[in-house]
């Protein structure tokens, strides 16, 4: 090693661990690829749920679909952290491979391949770092998270698929080959009785793989409690314990979005608008209408979710007061001063769903101000950021 250190830049041969090899890399890569694939698919679902294109209808059933897909999205990204770290460790020596400049063609091909790997690693690390920080509501960057995380997700998966195409023969051979080098003696055996000198490494590839799976499993268990109530006691790294006012956590408080004066004003009126028609309803008017109550989850993009029993007026009853057609989308506007998440558009299938409520109670009590007093929107299978709180106006879009 001291000899090698005289050359300040290591070469691939400077790294001598017997653990490294395509047999190990391919096995971890397979599961890392699956984790990224699952995160990408569930990420697309979340994207469509938040910005549904006109030609598509996001379903309002099952009511907990988004709760599940978004928890899976965040958990698969979390699981990918140990997988990516061990995978990058296993190929780290390749970083120091030097192109053979005497053979220009092969050097150019190598250069292209390394550029694609550079894109893949940069995009993969970016997705995991930005996703994990965002789930803990930590925004140490200045780019726009939603559009950038979405774009880089496509880049990461595209670069991953290119990588698979380039490496396909290596992957096939490596996955078919035995994991350990031929001369390895199991780490947990004593010395061979026949005295045949095999190599008994301190750690076998199987041992490292098991350790990696253990880390991935622990990563899931320690964080998933934010969405899975049964895991709350185990999930010491969960972004939420699941508690909060009336037993349900809060993302944005009334103080933060500057809505307290408007929300507590005794002269509060809800306006329901359709074209030139406009209705004004007090909270007492709303309470005098037929009430419904449904158990529906709040499921946030950060991956946490909690279920509650919400009571209030079915939105479609309010829409009927202004004769809204069944195929009309509805815009719900909050009284909050801060513009972020002030309005949301409810597609027609959600607006007219019998489970969609303008809720005034949670678990039988009046909504707390941080849950959206005097009333909030709660619809089935809808991202939490679109469940508008402190509703001041409902407008039927033509």
């Amino acid at each position: 090693m001291h000899e090698r250190l005289r050359d300040p830049i290591p070469r691939p041969e400077s790294f001598t661990s017997r653990l490294r090899g395509p047999e190990l890399t391919a096995r971890i890569g397979l599961w890392l690829g699956i984790a990224f694939g699952v995160a990408f698919a569930t990420g697309l679902i979340s994207h469509v749920a938040q910005q549904t294109p006109g030609w598509l209808t996001f379903p309002s059933r099952p009511v907990s679909l988004y709760r599940v897909t978004q928890a899976v999205h965040v958990t698969s990204g979390t699981i990918a952290v140990p997988l990516l770290l061990v995978k990058l460790w296993s190929v780290y020596p390749r970083l120091f491979a030097r192109p053979d400049l005497r053979r220009m063609r092969s050097a150019a091909v190598q250069g292209l391949e390394r550029a694609s790997i550079g894109v893949l690693v940069a995009a993969a690390v970016f997705q995991l770092v930005s996703g994990l920080a965002n789930s803990a509501q930590w925004y140490p960057w200045h780019f726009s998270f939603v559009s950038t995380h979405y774009a880089v997700g496509w880049i990461a998966v595209g670069a991953l698929v290119v990588h698979i195409a380039v490496k396909l023969p290596v992957i096939k051979t490596a996955l078919g080959a035995p994991l350990e080098p031929a001369d390895t003696v199991s780490a947990d055996q004593g010395d061979r009785a026949d005295g045949d000198a095999g190599v008994r490494p301190a750690l076998t590839r199987r041992g490292l793989l098991r350790g990696t799976w253990l880390a991935a499993g622990a990563a899931a268990l320690l964080t998933a409690g934010a969405a899975v109530p049964a895991l709350r006691k185990v999930s010491v790294f969960a972004i939420r314990s699941g508690g909060g006012p009336q037993g349900v956590p809060i993302n944005h408080t009334a103080t933060e979005v500057r809505v307290v004066p408007a929300a507590t004003d005794p002269d509060y009126r809800l306006t329901v608008v359709r074209g030139a028609t406009s209705l004004s309803l007090s909270r007492a008017d709303l309470e005098a209408m037929p009430q419904s109550s449904h158990s529906l989850p709040i499921a946030c993009v950060e991956g946490w979710s909690a279920s509650g029993v919400w009571g209030g007026v079915p939105l479609r009853d309010l829409l009927a007061l202004v004769d809204a057609p069944d195929d009309a989308d509805v815009e719900v506007v909050s009284m909050q001063e801060k513009s972020y998440l002030k309005t949301s558009t409810l597609p027609a299938n959600f607006a007219h769903d019998p489970l969609t409520l303008l809720a005034m109670t949670l678990d039988g009590e009046a909504l707390s101000i941080d849950h959206g007093y005097p009333c909030r929107l709660i619809a089935p299978d809808r991202p939490g950021v679109l469940q508008t709180k402190w509703v001041g106006q409902i407008e039927v879009l033509s």
């Binding site: 140990p82 770290l85 690390v125 301190a202 010491v236 972004i239 944005h252």
Partner: protein, 147 residues
């Protein structure tokens, strides 16, 4: 196989190009701010995290008896990666004084508990291996670059 690779590669390039198009669509200011984080992730991993891991492993493989090295390496993989992914909650950087329902756990205590379990697990595994390996081997069999 060649046709399959070309097809997969073409699909990958198309997906990548669409991602690049989406990123371009976010505007040059946003791209500039994103570029720092894209490059930064690679630099921090390849330039700091990976070499630091190798240095730790080299040092540990000299300090630790052979029977303890394997369990310790697994312990490093588990505790190291769990610590990294817990940085956002351990630092509670996103905490807000007006919202006690956010980041509402004692994450330091949680990390200590996790570290305790990992260290105990490594200890038990090393003790077990020491018993199994009746005769200690004489040659060095580290898991990282050897002298």
């Amino acid at each position: 196989v060649r046709a399959a690779r070309l097809t997969i590669g073409a699909v990958g390039l198309a997906v990548l190009a669409y991602g690049a198009f989406l990123l371009l669509d976010t505007g040059w200011t946003n791209i500039g701010r994103t570029a720092w984080w894209l490059v930064g992730g690679v630099v921090v991993h390849d330039g700091f995290l990976a070499p630091a891991t190798i240095v730790v492993v080299v040092i540990a493989s000299r300090l630790l008896p052979e029977w303890a090295r394997g369990p310790a390496a697994v312990g490093l993989v588990v505790l190291g990666s769990l610590t990294l992914l817990a940085i956002p909650v351990l630092g509670r950087f996103g905490a807000r004084s007006d919202n006690p329902s956010l980041l509402d756990r004692n994450y330091t205590a949680g990390w200590l508990a996790v570290a305790g379990v990992v260290v105990a697990g490594v200890g038990v595994a090393a003790w077990w291996r020491r018993r199994r390996w009746a005769a200690p081997a004489d040659e060095s069999r580290g898991v990282e670059p050897k002298p």
